[in-house]
């Protein structure tokens, strides 16, 4: 029997198995909810270039990043050469050489083969001797490492010592790999370029309004696809404050559940209730929506939108803990989560020795959107007053909406109460329309997120800025006099909604520099910043009965571990409250104090 015939049989079998499984996955995905992800193809291609071909996120962990990059490119070349050789092998009459018979191709194959084997060795050492936390050590992974090694090794052996038996070993291994691919986590090989291409161009955005999801057909195809693209690397778990704090959520397990959901459906089973049985309620509610998982995920999976969809479903059924329910009721009725009277919203201004303009009654340049916590929580009032004095002393023409201001609604969207968000937004927009202002500034990153990206521009307002951006601009324009330099060592916490969500890292640092302080960065800074645990509506929820350590406590310990640093600077009211509480819990009150940036600016203004 001619070789070619054997090859045909093997090829058809392998492609058949592969194609069959992939087809079933596609069928399941096409039965899911639609989501348009074809827009801005140029931008998407660029993302693929950077993240798939450039492996950018993997290189964040340098050793394995480099190794994986090598393995990836080795794979690209070997895949190319395999198909070349396959065609040549299936159609022996074609007048084309085998891949390794072409000069430059042979060199590339040899180089990548050797480097690839070295990289595999590095990967194996990491996986089996120095495994990072939360790396899924599955048999699947071992098989894959083995298969790739055989693929590379057999090809090298073939090139160096003659192809005889190596040819069949090589072809069978690769074809076997191909057939095995859709059943293993290495489906991510196939899925990840598509996952990245069809990823969200605005990772911080909330999914389009929907009744929520609790079963397969209710998720979007991209959300289901997240399960298939996941390589179980554990980067999400390693960065997740909920998981690290010992709460019920593991983003990696969530992806695994999605994978199982698709797998089970494609195999024909439709069984247990996804929400409640497979994914527990505590997991769904444990997320702080800090976006760390999505920031680290190399295949741009969508952990947070999936959780929000499930929250929407639970909220629709009234299924949530009582304190969250109470918060929703209060927000709906009084526009703040405290259940405090709206009339008392601007009471904090009484602590100032100058009047604060009411933007509804007189025109102002800056409308200051203060926010719930800054207005009502006495622990934050000191910082709010400091900000007011800073604005005043800098000669800014600013005003507030007083009792017409409602909670901006950002956290309602993340908690799954989209309707309440819309209602709050409507009320705020109504107040905006009646007021007179040119720009919006807010001291609250959560409000900043939704005012900037979701609220339609009102009154032709020119910009929405967080106060650190405003202060930073004033520093650049030399309009912020800071005569009393502060000689202190401080550290700075990047809040999630300013940092990861909006990439505002430099503005606060510029202000700190202008104050004369020495900034000592915490190990987890900028996009690695560790969430305080209040986001996603979690500040309104009860803690679970059992957990390891609140994220805020971990964070203040991190700050306190910096030598000679006694001040933790924050720019978010929730951070202020969470970290102050955490200092008490951790017994670190004498070691570290939490200060809002405005308080330091005020000091430096003299």
């Amino acid at each position: 029997m001619p070789d070619a015939l054997y090859l045909w049989i093997l090829t058809l079998a392998a492609f058949g198995l592969f194609g069959h499984r992939v087809f079933r996955y596609v069928k399941v995905l096409s039965g899911a909810r639609g989501e348009k992800r074809w827009d801005h193809p140029g931008q998407r291609l660029r993302l693929v270039l950077v993240n798939v071909f450039g492996q950018r996120r993997l290189i964040e962990e340098p050793v394995i990043g480099l190794a994986h990059l090598v393995i990836f490119w080795a794979f690209v070349f070997y895949a190319g050469s395999f198909f070349w050789n396959l065609v040549r092998g299936l159609f022996p009459f074609l007048p084309i050489p085998f891949a390794d018979q072409v000069g430059w191709m042979r060199i590339a194959l040899e180089a990548f083969g050797v480097l690839g084997l070295v990289a595999l060795a590095v990967a194996a050492v990491r996986r089996y001797i120095f495994p990072p936390d939360r790396l899924e050590k599955s048999r699947d992974a071992t098989i894959i490492l083995g298969l790739i090694a055989v693929v590379l090794g057999s090809s090298l052996a073939g090139q160096w010592f003659g192809w005889r038996s190596m040819w069949w070993l090589h072809m069978v291994t690769v074809l076997g790999f191909l057939a095995y691919l859709p059943y293993s986590k290495h489906l991510h090989l196939l899925a990840s370029p598509f996952a990245v291409f069809f990823g969200s161009l605005r990772p911080g955005s909330v999914p389009a309004p929907s009744p929520g999801a609790s079963s397969r057909e209710e998720f979007t195809w991209r959300q289901l696809f997240s399960g298939l693209a996941c390589a179980e690397c554990g980067r999400c778990d390693r960065s997740c404050p909920s998981f690290q704090g010992g709460f019920a959520l593991s983003p990696k397990m969530l992806m695994h559940h999605m994978k199982e959901l698709v797998r089970d459906a494609s195999a024909g089973h439709n069984g247990t209730s996804f929400v409640g049985d497979v994914v527990k309620r505590e997991e769904i509610w444990a997320c702080t929506t800090c976006l760390a998982c999505m920031e680290r995920c190399p295949v741009m999976n969508e952990h947070v939108p999936i959780l929000i969809e499930m929250r929407r479903r639970l909220v629709g059924e009234g299924d949530m803990d009582k304190s969250l329910q109470e918060a929703f009721k209060n927000l709906n009725r009084y526009g703040n989560s405290f259940g405090a009277p709206p009339r008392a919203r601007s009471k904090w201004t009484q602590q100032l020795d100058f009047p604060v303009k009411d933007a509804r009654k007189e025109p102002v340049q800056y409308l200051w959107f203060v926010g719930d916590f800054a207005s009502y929580d006495p622990r934050v009032n000191a910082a709010t007053c400091a900000a007011a004095r800073v604005f005043h002393n800098a000669g800014l023409d600013f005003g507030i909406l007083c009792e017409s201001e409602q909670n901006s609604g950002n956290d309602l969207r993340l908690a799954g109460e989209e309707g309440l968000y819309e209602s709050l937004q409507e009320k705020n927009l109504k107040a905006f329309r009646k007021a007179h202002f040119e720009e919006i500034v807010t001291t609250d990153p959560h409000s900043f997120q939704v005012l900037k990206h979701e609220y339609p521009a009102t009154n032709g307002a020119r910009s929405v800025r967080h106060h650190t951006q405003l202060l930073s601009d004033l520093v650049l324009q030399d309009k912020l006099p800071l005569p009393k330099k502060l000689h202190m060592r401080v550290t700075y916490h990047d809040p999630c909604y300013l940092g990861r969500y909006n990439a505002v890292f430099n503005a606060p640092r510029r202000v700190l520099a202008a104050l004369g302080v020495e900034l000592v960065e915490m190990p987890r800074n900028r996009t690695y910043s560790y969430c305080c645990g209040a986001g996603g509506g979690r500040i309104w929820m009860e803690d679970p009965p059992v957990f390891k350590e609140r994220p805020a406590v971990s964070r203040v310990r991190e700050a306190a571990s910096l030598p000679n640093v006694h001040t933790l600077v924050v720019v978010c009211p929730k951070d202020l409250v969470m970290f102050q509480d955490a200092l008490k819990t951790a017994g670190l009150e004498s070691r570290l104090q939490v200060r809002e940036l405005s308080e330091l600016v005020e000091q430096a203004m003299g």
Binding site: K322, Q325, N332, R333, A340, P341, R343, G419, E422
Partner: protein, 261 residues
């Protein structure tokens, strides 16, 4: 099985209450109203019974400020019919409201027959009476109040109701339907209904209007409020001032002085 729930709006005491210029009533002009808390429980209990027995649920209220919100919310939670009684003067007393409600229940076409009428046991402004026993008397139905649990036996037209007594004791009663029950608390806390559902209800549900059938004051003397004022703490407590450390120290001295250590 037809269950009727009676709702009332009361001033929301989260806000500061203002006294009107005459000094004998609250200034309700700028006052936000909220559904009476035990009425909310009555609605929840009715919804639970509807879920258990497939009963039809009608919600009825006298027209007042912000009552539409409460009725739409009831509809969003699952009430089949929501209705308000229009045309009466503002500010009915409890007794007048009970008369108005009873008349409408008895004579508005399509309301009777009713198997069970639920309403809150007492509202914060029930100065001159209680809705539940007054409605029961007008409709010649049995009444029991301070109810925290209801089980219906549809076949025998009876209800088993749990009533609260002092010291955590409860009494189980057999009640012949139709009956009026004053609810202290529902078996589960009032459910949450997402704002989206309420807004949807506002678009799709119609609040039926019934014209008030009789003038409210049915021949008894009006409530003679001579004066109404804020209830300031009457200087009863000696207030300890200062930071937590200071007040704690002072308090410890006081406790020591009383021999509590």
């Amino acid at each position: 099985m037809h269950i009727l729930v009676l709702l009332k709006m009361v001033p929301d005491v989260v806000e500061d209450l203002e006294i009107a210029s005459g000094g004998t009533a609250l200034d309700l002009d700028c006052q936000r109203m909220i559904l009476s808390e035990s009425d909310d429980h009555a609605l929840e209990q009715a919804l639970l019974l509807k879920e258990r027995h497939g009963a039809k649920l009608t919600v009825l209220a006298v027209d007042a400020a912000e009552v539409d919100d409460a009725l739409f919310t009831a509809a969003a939670k699952g009430a089949d019919r929501v209705m308000k009684i229009v045309g009466s003067d503002a500010g009915l007393t409890t007794r007048q409201a009970a008369r108005v409600l009873s008349q409408t229940i008895a004579e508005e076409p399509g309301l009777m027959p009713v198997d069970l009428i639920l309403t809150g046991v007492q509202a914060i402004d029930d100065l001159d009476g209680l809705i539940a026993p007054l409605v029961a008397d007008e409709l010649h139905m049995p009444y029991l109040g301070i109810i925290t649990g209801i089980a219906l036996d549809v076949s025998s037209d009876t209800a088993r109701a749990i009533k609260e007594y002092p010291s955590g004791v409860r009494g189980e009663f057999q009640i012949q339907l139709p009956a009026v029950l004053g609810i202290q608390a529902a078996e589960k806390p009032p459910r949450y209904v997402p704002v989206a559902k309420i807004r949807a209800a506002m678009k799709t549900v119609k609040i039926e209007c019934a014209q008030v059938l009789t003038l409210a004051d049915g021949g008894w003397p009006a409530v003679n409020v001579l004066e109404m004022k804020q209830n300031e703490p009457a200087g009863h407590a000696e207030m300890l001032e200062g930071a937590p450390a200071q007040v704690s120290a002072r308090l410890c001295e006081i406790l020591a002085g009383r021999g509590l250590f």
